[in-house]
């Protein structure tokens, strides 16, 4: 009697597992469906076309691993691909004018469907980072950058790192929250140089 009950329980359990396997979609299937539903739920407006929802490999991989630990090999691949994609300035100069840089760091407009496509477009750095001490309205999603150059040293390695990081943050920290300002054509080369100056010029308010 007992054996029979156990037997039926096992059969029932196996059936439940089979049904479960047959009906529960895999994670990849759910992702694919979510992307499909998402694309059907938006419409192009102003400068924000539907191509904004076409993910590149970095976006796709980072979405997949969001909320989970990023495997080392996956992180290294993302960083390698993005590092190789950085366009370094042809004239070899990494720094522009920190005064322009401060304006770019303050400017929050750009790329929203509600923004004028003719500009201005800013980096909105203060939204996430502390920079010049005079600006106390700063966000905390990114690390504080106050005295960035003063602390790290005013040398070529750090200037190059600053330029590369602003151009393509994924090259140094896979699945960083920071936009790829140069790579994704948010800011121009000249604007990126001005931001490097804001971080690296000894005269910049950031380094006082």
């Amino acid at each position: 009697m007992n054996k029979r009950i156990i037997g039926w329980t096992l059969v029932g359990g196996a059936a439940a597992v089979l049904i479960g396997c047959a009906t529960a979609p895999t994670d990849a299937e759910t992702s694919a469906k979510a992307t499909q539903v998402l694309k059907a739920s938006f419409k192009a407006r102003g400068q924000a076309g539907m191509d904004r929802l076409d993910q590149d490999e970095t976006q796709k991989t980072c979405s997949e691993f969001a909320g989970k630990p990023l495997p080392k090999d996956v992180a290294e691949k993302i960083e390698k691909v993005n590092l190789a994609a950085i366009k370094w300035p042809a004239d070899g100069k990494l720094m522009g004018d920190w005064r322009n840089g401060e304006k770019i760091a303050q400017e929050g407009r750009g790329k929203q469907f509600s923004d004028d496509p003719k500009g201005p477009v800013g980096g909105n750095c203060y939204a996430c980072h502390q920079l010049a001490p005079a600006e106390v309205s700063y966000g905390t999603i990114g690390p504080p950058l106050y005295q960035f150059g003063k602390v790290r040293g005013y040398n070529d390695d750090i200037r190059k790192y600053a330029y590369g990081k602003i151009w393509n943050a994924e090259a140094y920290s896979a699945c960083s929250n920071m936009p790829r300002f140069g790579h994704s054509q948010i800011l121009t080369e000249a604007q990126v140089k001005d931001l490097v100056a804001l971080l690296m010029d000894p005269q910049s308010p950031v380094n006082q």
Partner: protein, 298 residues
């Protein structure tokens, strides 16, 4: 104080249309006092910033606390109640037979259990998409007309915002209890979760970029961490809200629409499947907390 005064920046805001309940702003504050309070707090805020950031944050907290005294959202609630109860649309019928999930015409507590699966539509709907459904099925509107003008602006009152204000106000104090038993409810939750982590657009932003970690800010604006129960509960139960900076009552559909705008995505379509899935994900995460809206926010 029995008459409904106009909210700040919106002198022509609607009075109740039907013979609805009389409502009063909580507390004794005249709107002029609210305005003065806002100016005074704004001044205090500037002074605070001049000293130190922490005091600026304190001043903002005080400003928010001061706002709680009188909430113009009640004007939208009253107008919405009128719209709900009076005959409308080509069929000239009210919403009083509209089934929000708890039976025909039951409004009390309905929002605390939405989004949910509706057998008659064979899909999951949030409040806004259910109102659209009732406008089509009961009142005789075309679907396109039923979805028109979801968000108001200056000199443009959106009936949808008023209807949502009324229905949600009838769940104030009710514990969030969004179901996830039906396969389509489970699917909506899973899809919403994926969408929450979907990185795209020119800036690589996902919802999670700003709402995945505790105690972060954009400029001085605190960001709720929507991946924790506590964060989702606090955020979700305080929408819809009267936005002081806009002089408008904003619904959860608007909240999603405007987040995606700032995410540099294209325009999220009103009552779209993605908007419902994301709402399902966030609403279910808020289960167990008492619903506390329409609220008031900066």
């Amino acid at each position: 104080m029995n008459k409904l005064p106009p909210p700040p920046g919106r002198p022509k805001a609607g009075a109740p249309l039907g013979g609805g309940r009389r409502r009063r702003l909580r507390g004794d504050h005249h709107p002029a006092d609210i305005r003065l309070g806002a100016v005074a707090s704004g001044f205090a805020l500037v002074v605070g910033v001049a000293f130190a950031q922490s005091s600026a944050v304190d001043e903002i907290a005080k400003y928010r606390a001061a706002l709680q005294d009188g909430n113009p959202a009640e004007l939208w609630e009253a107008r919405g109640e009128g719209l709900w109860k009076q005959p409308g649309g080509p069929n000239k019928v009210s919403f009083e037979k509209c089934d929000l999930g708890l039976g025909s015409g039951v409004v009390k507590g309905a929002y605390a259990q939405m989004p949910r699966y509706f057998a008659d539509a064979d899909r999951v709907m949030d409040l806004e998409s259910r109102i659209v459904w009732c406008k089509v099925k009961l009142q005789g509107f075309s679907e396109a007309d039923a979805k028109k003008n979801p968000f108001g602006g200056p000199d443009n009152k959106a009936d949808m915002e008023a209807l949502v204000a009324y229905v949600t106000s009838e769940s104030r104090g009710v514990k969030m209890n969004v179901a996830g038993a039906h396969p389509k409810e489970r699917e909506a939750y899973r899809l919403g979760e994926k969408m929450f982590y979907f990185r795209g657009g020119s800036h690589d932003f996902a919802c999670a970029t700003c709402h995945g970690v505790d105690n972060q800010r954009i400029r001085l604006q605190d960001l709720p961490n929507l991946t924790t129960k506590e964060g989702a509960q606090k955020a979700y139960t305080t929408w819809p809200a009267y936005r002081v900076s806009q002089g408008e009552l904003r619904t959860f559909q608007w909240r999603l629409y405007d987040c995606f705008r700032q995410q540099r995505f294209p325009e999220l379509e009103f009552a779209s499947d993605a908007s419902i899935a994301l709402t399902m994900f966030l609403a279910q995460n808020a289960n167990g907390a008492a619903f506390d809206a329409p609220a008031i926010k900066r």
